[in-house]
Amino acid sequence: MSMLSTGRPTRPETAAETGETATLTGGRGLLQSEPLIFELGGWDKTGVDLPPVPDELGADDLGDLVRAEPIGLPGLSEPETVRHYVRLSQQNHAIDLALYPLGSCTMKHNPRLNEKLARLPGFADIHPLQPVSTVQGALQLIDELAHWLKTLTGLPAVAMTPKAGAHGELCGILAIQAAHRAKGDAARTTVLVPTSAHGTNPATAAFVGYQVQEIAQTADGRVDLADLAAKLGPHVAAIMVTNPNTCGLFERDIREIARLTHAAGAYFYCDGANFNAIVGRVRPGDLGVDAMHINLHKTFSTPHGGGGPGAGPVVLSQALAPFAPVPYVVHGPDGFELTETDARAFGRMSAFNGQMGMFVRAYAYMLSHGADGLRQVAEDAVLNANYVKARLSAVMTPAFPDGPCMHEALFDDRWLEGTGVTTLDFAKAMIDEGFHPMTMYFPLVVHGAMLIEPTETESKAELDRFCDMVTALAHAAKAGDTGRFTGAPYHAPRRRLDETQAARRPRLKWTPPAPEAVAAE
């Protein structure tokens, strides 16, 4: 069998005593324990006041279509609702609390001006299917944002509608598929992807029916040109390469990668997740990219929101532009038009017009920084990552020590050998120190990977605080203070959770507890 070695422990050992004085009720200072809404009662309660419905306007016209059975959802008054969600919020870490060093996620500060502007009624209270003459401002914003994206990337066209990065990847691959079909080239059945690729890359290619073949990596963490050249051929539709790559390194041979790909009649899809490292300093168009998605929730600061929503517009080369999906904005002589039908488009990514809420935020971000500010963003992001790499290389083993990294620094777990502490344990101990852990076990090509991306919105003081903490923990691990790590976290709202049980016996919704069995006697 193929042994994927990420089968690390997913069930905690039973917790050791922490030695703290237990409280009488289980409360823990500011941290409040909070039951599920279904456990708060309130089955008939509501926190919204609505006018009554006149009898003559009831639902008698709907007969059997009316829902007879109860839904089974409790309500809360407004004060209870606020308490419930504020208590829950306090059990979350967030960028607003501390450096969130997640590699490849670009956890930068979310500017509050963007939130204010996205909520202007002129953006928030307009319907996607209103007559185009009544939403000229919205279309203009999309058009101007598109212009910024094209100028920053050096590509002539952009598909604005994908709703997230992975959705953007799908858009790019579909444009490529359409381009090959338009040439009558049906033999291109394979997509090449480096071994270090993010999981969405092969998932996207396979979703669309391509075979996925891996390209090897060199010892210095880059795409192996010889392997790429050997694998390119008339059966290859595209390559999907991240640049800077998932090891945080700039692909020096990127132009040769593009040249080889094009010579073989294939297209170059670039995963733009790491654009933060080069925005304003390098244009992917100059590197030979045919399509690249841009994560607005990474490089352009739209909030991560606990997992979404994102937005993933895709810049396109001249060759792919004709196949861009509908709808798209056109700036005509009489104003802005929305083209919703185009025979050459490969199709439609979703209903309506794209993630307008994220467009407003990203555009406000771009206008605030300006071209000079954005260039500074990339420089500070790369500077911060190299600073962290330099400070932490004293105690940790960088996966690729030679040469600078870009916006993220990758370490492996060789420095933990013999300590009895794994990457996972180390991460959990970071939680106790008040920091969210870095990305763990990604990319898969490095053993026990730890990928750290500070971003440009971290002060030197915060970086030093972070590095001091990691250094102290590293010393503790090497000094044999194993319990600190293997039982961590001790101070978070929860100890380690039993993921094994969650997967073996999935409980995915609340169910009412069974009535108490009556004793037989």
Binding site: E78, Q90, P309, M356
Partner: protein
């Protein structure tokens, strides 16, 4: 620059520690030909004052739904979202947190997802719901792909009432994956027509209720017939408030539910971000896409929540994943869940009744306009009306009079031969004067 904390002194100190002479040394791997010498040709940094002025100017060039009588629906609906919802989703710990991959410090997000999944399962009447997808249309496409995986068949039949954008989205995804999609021609009240198109290669039929034309249908028999032929029934709903009044898709035998949750907790936002609701039968769970949050215990035996069944997903299964999806619609799902918690069943039922009552008033008012005919036999809060002449032109004329009268079908399906059909919707935000304005204006415009 206000978002960049490093000072020039910081930068020099850091470069020293790194051992690099300047920032360019860190970009040494960039090919010389690709290095931009300076900032690209775009405006330079601007303060809040200028940015706000510019964007407020763009915002003012849009007519808002709240400015006058407003009747647009067709998949996105204007509802009153309580002030508490938007206030709570802006808390730092919700707004600026990440996907809950470190569950010990993300129990806030995870518990909300667990509550959300429970709410969606109960609203849709299904056994299991996921933690949301991007929106209703991509959820529908994912449902079709899932049905193909389960049945190992390659064809999808889309009903005559399915929203054309949803049909186009399904076609784009499914045809790319090698499936065939048959979208039946639009019709006001013909969901059961899908049965006529069933064959041995059909993986699923996709029906919508209430459909594009507002028609509510009991799809129970459609589901039974589909399953008898070895296909699954996917039920699509674009107006989530309808779950408060109508028989649930689960009660009607849906195998998969793909719905748009925007109506609850989320504003119109010109079409996004929205929130896709996705619910399935327990036995099909392993073929479902998207995140799932599950209950478990921690090392001290305390209840907690974690993302689970991740082996279906891209970050583990890579090219064998059930979907390529990486995000959910987190903050929008939170807004949905908060609004649902405020409403409760009692509030949702009342809200749904109000919506239906407004739509009945709308229907009565429009029926009384000479030349206008209501086409929808049974509706929740949206109807289709036949108008004399071109509905799109009528909408433009009424817009000139300050009224957004609804969506003309030709906007969504220019070749359907339905240029005379208009789709007005009413919600709890529609008032008596809105309806009377509309009917008076219509009467005047249509008068010979």
């Amino acid at each position: 620059m206000r978002y960049l904390p490093l000072s020039p002194d910081d930068r020099s100190a850091m470069l020293s520690v790194i051992g690099a002479p300047d920032i360019d040394a860190l970009f040494v791997d960039v090919p010389a030909e690709a290095r931009l010498p300076g900032p690209v040709d775009l405006p330079h940094v601007q303060g809040e004052l200028e940015v706000e002025r510019k964007l407020a100017g763009l915002a003012r060039r849009n007519r808002t739904a709240g400015e006058g009588p407003f009747f647009c629906g067709a998949g996105a609906y204007r509802h009153q979202v309580p002030a508490t919802v938007d206030h709570l989703i802006q808390r730092s710990e919700f707004l600026t947190s990440y996907t809950p991959y470190q569950p010990e410090i993300a129990q806030g997000t995870l518990q909300v997802l667990f509550e959300f999944q429970t709410q969606v399962a109960r609203l849709t009447g299904m056994e299991v719901a996921n933690a949301s997808l991007y929106d209703g249309s991509t959820a529908t496409a994912e449902a079709v792909m899932m049905a193909a995986r389960i049945t190992r068949r390659t064809r999808a039949v889309l009903s005559p009432g399915l929203h054309p954008h949803y049909a186009a989205t399904v076609r784009t995804m499914a045809e790319a994956a090698g499936l065939t999609v048959e979208a039946l021609p639009l019709a006001v009240d013909a969901e059961a027509e899908v049965l006529g198109a069933l064959d041995g290669a059909t993986a699923c039929v996709v029906v919508q209720t209430p459909n594009l034309f507002g028609t509510a249908t009991d799809v129970t028999k459609i589901g039974e017939a589909a399953r008898a032929a070895g296909a699954l029934m996917i039920v699509v709903t674009t107006e989530a408030v309808s779950f408060g009044l109508l028989k649930s898709p689960g009660a009607m035998g849906a195998d998969i539910v793909a719905a748009e949750g925007q109506s609850i907790g989320n504003g119109l936002n010109y079409g996004g971000p929205y929130v896709g609701l996705f619910a399935v039968r327990e036995k099909h769970l392993r073929q479902a896409p998207g995140r799932l949050c599950g209950e478990t215990v921690d090392a001290e035996g305390r209840r907690g929540f974690v993302l689970t069944l991740s082996t279906r997903e891209q970050h583990i299964r890579r090219d064998k994943a059930t979907s390529n999806i990486c995000t959910n619609s987190g903050l929008c799902a939170l807004a949905f869940s908060i609004h649902m918690s405020l409403l409760g069943e009692t509030g949702l039922r009342r809200l749904a009744q109000l919506n239906h009552a407004r739509a009945r008033q709308l229907k009565a008012a429009l029926e009384a306009v000479p030349g206008v005919q209501v086409l929808t036999p049974r509706f929740f809060n949206e109807i289709a009306v036949r108008v004399p002449g071109n509905a799109a032109e009528l909408v433009e004329t009424l817009a000139g009079n300050g009224i957004l009268a609804g969506v003309p079908v030709s906007r969504l399906a220019p070749d359907a031969g339905m240029d005379y059909v208009l789709l007005p919707a009413a919600t709890e935000t529609t008032c008596d004067s809105d309806i009377s304005f509309l009917s008076r204006a219509l009467t005047k415009v249509l008068a010979p």
